[in-house]
């Protein structure tokens, strides 16, 4: 009889569900993809239904259901925080009471309402938040043993943990607790720079190379004390999150010379420099923590999770430091991954199901293609029902050739194929593809496809076997979680140094300068967030890039997520078609079907999507 575990994360941000069968990942998906509400925090009914469907099981066959966070410990932290805040703690107390006492401790009701039972165990299990992160990092990794680091905003109390995994056991040995949090520090600067907390942190990372770390000393001297072992302590006098509903306060504003930037206003040199400064601090702390983990565990391998593990610039530096022989980062490193981690923890530590280690030496995350696929018949029915003109090419090679030719001809392609990705990155299942050689691709994609800020870089998908033709990267990066430098010989001189020295804050002056012969995926500091594509994980996608290489000599494409700004990545053929028609993409690939924009009927956009999708 199989052992089936359902893991759930919910009620904070990025709710998700994951299902294991005898320790193997069968399905995992974020609720936002189904609900079409970005970072959807609500109970993941649709994601759970999908997981059950994918596994072909009824809820009665589930052995156990597990939630990724302990409401008891969280309430302990909240109450004590409000007490420390004194009178100012009342607003948070009331809000938190509703959230924890009114919703989170009743999570079993949501489970029962959703699937009719709590599984055969007839009890809802709860794990600790950072244990779930640690499990999501260690168990699917290729390593028999590894050092573990988890860093996020906050779980119950822990914000950072260091531990080790061996066989199917995890031990978390040290932690740093709230209110001292690298994730919250980063979020505070995110907020101050006018980006949304809980979603805009990665924009700050992308902004950093435009600035200089002129505020580094200010941050280190006033906001955070960092020890040589990587442990740290914040000066909470500068932060609003302890006694208000904002990340920063007047003292923070005074330190940095004024109020926070209003969202959607012009980004100034100050924000660029702040981004560079906080990025430098973050990198430093992450490296020091890694040094501590190495010293204490003596492991040659490192695994990472928690939202800060999505800081792929820091990850790239970590790899370059050679502290560890190998590093593996959970693709769904944020809270969505907690669902998977909680399930894996219960599978390994509660039911003692033998851990699945891939005998090939690869991980067991299956390329993170863990969400729904749509069958040929479903896609055909959708197209026929709506009368959308298409060309059917069932031969994979021919289809790849046609798509590659389109990209080489300058087309922007919406690519929808196979199972959806789990985690925030598009990895060639729900991607928008373009020619990286074209200097206008970045601007066109930002302004006419994604409708987003034009400073934001795009990332490359490169044939795994060709990665060192383009980047200084010593290992595979299948999940786009490592930033690496573009090879020196491919770089072109720009005026970025002059930009840094000047008072100029118009980033377009730099964005539009070709930086290499793959300008669309080369950031202003010659870095790139790389995805290496191998034939095993995604043969169709690999084939397209290979065909593009045959045509152009370049085994590399621009890969950005298939969505417009503020929208979750597309899930269904309908989502994909809508996004396609709402933008200036040229070609849509839906499985075996190719749709040319010029042939499509006029699109009646019933949803007022520009206001429905709040700018992120």
């Amino acid at each position: 009889m199989s052992n089936i575990i359902l893991g759930i994360s919910a009620f904070y941000h990025d709710s998700a569900a994951a299902l294991l069968k005898d320790g193997e990942i069968i399905a995992a998906a974020q609720e936002e993809r189904f609900s079409r509400k970005k970072h959807d925090p609500r109970f993941p009914h649709s994601a759970i239904n999908y997981c059950l469907e994918e596994a072909f099981i009824e809820s009665s066959e589930i052995d156990a259901v597990v939630f990724y966070d302990s409401p008891t410990l969280t309430w302990d932290r909240i109450l004590k925080n409000c007490m420390m805040a004194g009178e100012d703690g009342l607003e948070q107390f009331q809000k938190a009471a509703h959230s924890i006492l009114g919703v989170k401790i009743w999570v079993k009701d949501y489970v029962v309402n959703s699937i009719g039972s709590l599984g055969k165990l007839d009890r809802l299990l709860f794990t600790e938040h950072h244990m779930a992160h640690a499990a999501s990092a260690f168990y699917p990794s290729p390593f028999k043993e590894a050092a573990i680091i988890t860093i996020d905003g906050v779980g119950e109390w822990a914000t950072t943990t260091v531990g080790k995994g061996s066989d199917n056991k995890i031990d978390l040995l040290w932690e740093i607790d709230y209110p001292h949090s690298l994730g919250l520090l980063y979020s505070a600067v995110t907020y101050y720079c006018g980006f949304k907390v809980n979603s805009g942190e990665y924009k700050l990372m992308g902004l950093a190379p435009y600035g200089q770390p002129v505020y580094y000393k200010t941050i280190r001297e006033n906001l955070i004390d960092v020890k040589d072992d990587g442990s740290y302590c914040l000066n909470t006098e500068y932060f609003g999150y302890l006694n208000s509903l904002k990340m920063t306060n007047e003292k923070f504003e005074h330190l940095f010379g004024g109020p926070a930037r209003e969202p959607e206003t012009h980004i100034l040199r100050k924000e660029m420099d702040l981004a560079a400064s906080i990025q430098k601090v973050t990198e430093e702390v992450v490296l020091l923590i890694a040094g501590h983990a190495k010293k204490e565990t003596h492991s040659e391998n490192l695994v990472l999770a928690g939202g800060v593990a999505l800081n792929c610039v820091a990850n790239g530096l970590l790899l370059k430091e050679n502290l560890f022989d190998d590093i593996w980062i959970q693709p769904a490193a944020g809270d969505a991954g907690g669902a998977l981690g909680a399930a894996m923890l219960v599978s390994n530590m509660y039911f003692d199901v033998p851990r699945k280690i891939n005998p090939t030496g690869r991980d067991t995350q299956k390329g993170s293609y863990l969400g729904p696929a749509y069958q040929y018949s479903e896609i055909l029915a959708f197209l026929e029902r709506n009368g959308f003109p298409y060309e059917k090419i069932t031969d994979q090679e021919q289809r790849a050739e046609k798509v590659a030719q389109g990209i080489a001809d300058g087309q922007i392609v919406g690519y929808f194929s196979g199972r959806m990705e789990y985690g925030p990155r598009a990895l060639g299942a729900r991607s928008i593809l373009g020619d990286p050689r074209n200097n206008e691709t970045q601007s066109k994609m930002n302004l006419k496809i994604k409708y987003r800020e034009s400073f934001r870089p795009f990332a490359p998908s490169v044939l795994a076997e060709d990665v060192n033709d383009f980047f200084d990267l010593k290992k595979e990066s299948p999940y786009m979680l490592l930033v690496a430098p573009v090879k020196q010989e491919l770089r072109l001189q720009t005026s970025i140094s002059e930009f840094w020295e000047s008072e100029d804050d118009d980033m377009l002056n730099i964005v539009n300068q070709p930086r290499s012969d793959i300008p669309a995926v080369t950031h202003v500091d010659y870095s790139a967030r790389v995805q290496t594509v191998n034939q095993i994980d995604n043969p169709d996608y690999h084939s397209i890039i290979k065909k593009f290489k045959d045509l152009t000599g370049y085994g590399i494409l621009v890969n950005t997520s298939f969505n417009v700004r503020g929208e979750p990545i597309v899930c269904s053929p309908q989502d994909a078609y809508q996004c396609f028609m709402r933008t200036e993409m040229d070609l849509l690939v839906l499985g075996d079907f190719l749709l040319q924009k010029r042939e499509q009927p006029e699109f009646e956009d019933k949803d007022n999507w520009e206001s429905a999708y709040e700018l992120d």
Binding site: D76, I105, V112, L125, T127, W174, G240, M247
Partner: protein
């Protein structure tokens, strides 16, 4: 303000805040609020290094009492019997809050989602 929010406010102002002020006057702080001069490390060594997987029972009363019991056990073990005394009131409030609270649909743009 509805009666539940009024009850929350009353609990905070009448019981929790005075307790907080007492703790503060006795020098009991729950966490550092700023760096400590001379600190060698800010890591806390975890007492329990392995996963603790909690279970919570299925019926309404058991679920709520599990929560109440866990609060009492936790705060007693931590050496805060004064907090443990609050557990029944919190448990009772939870039953009321359950009836009036809907899950959040939006993720805040201004503050990290910590609760």
């Amino acid at each position: 303000m509805n009666s539940t929010d009024a009850a929350l406010k009353k609990l905070f102002l009448k019981e929790i805040l005075p307790l907080a002020e007492r703790f503060h006057s006795e020098g009991k702080e729950f966490f550092l609020t700023k760096p400590k001069p001379g600190a060698e490390t800010y890591y806390k060594k975890r007492g329990e290094t392995k996963a603790v997987i909690e279970e919570i029972g299925v019926t309404e009363d058991r679920a709520n009492n599990d929560f109440e019991k866990k609060l009492v056990d936790m705060w007693t073990e931590q050496g805060y019997p004064e907090l443990a005394v609050l557990a029944p009131k919190l448990s009772k409030l939870a039953k009321s809050l359950r009836l009036v609270t809907k899950q959040e649909e939006e993720v805040s743009s201004f503050i990290y989602v910590m609760f």
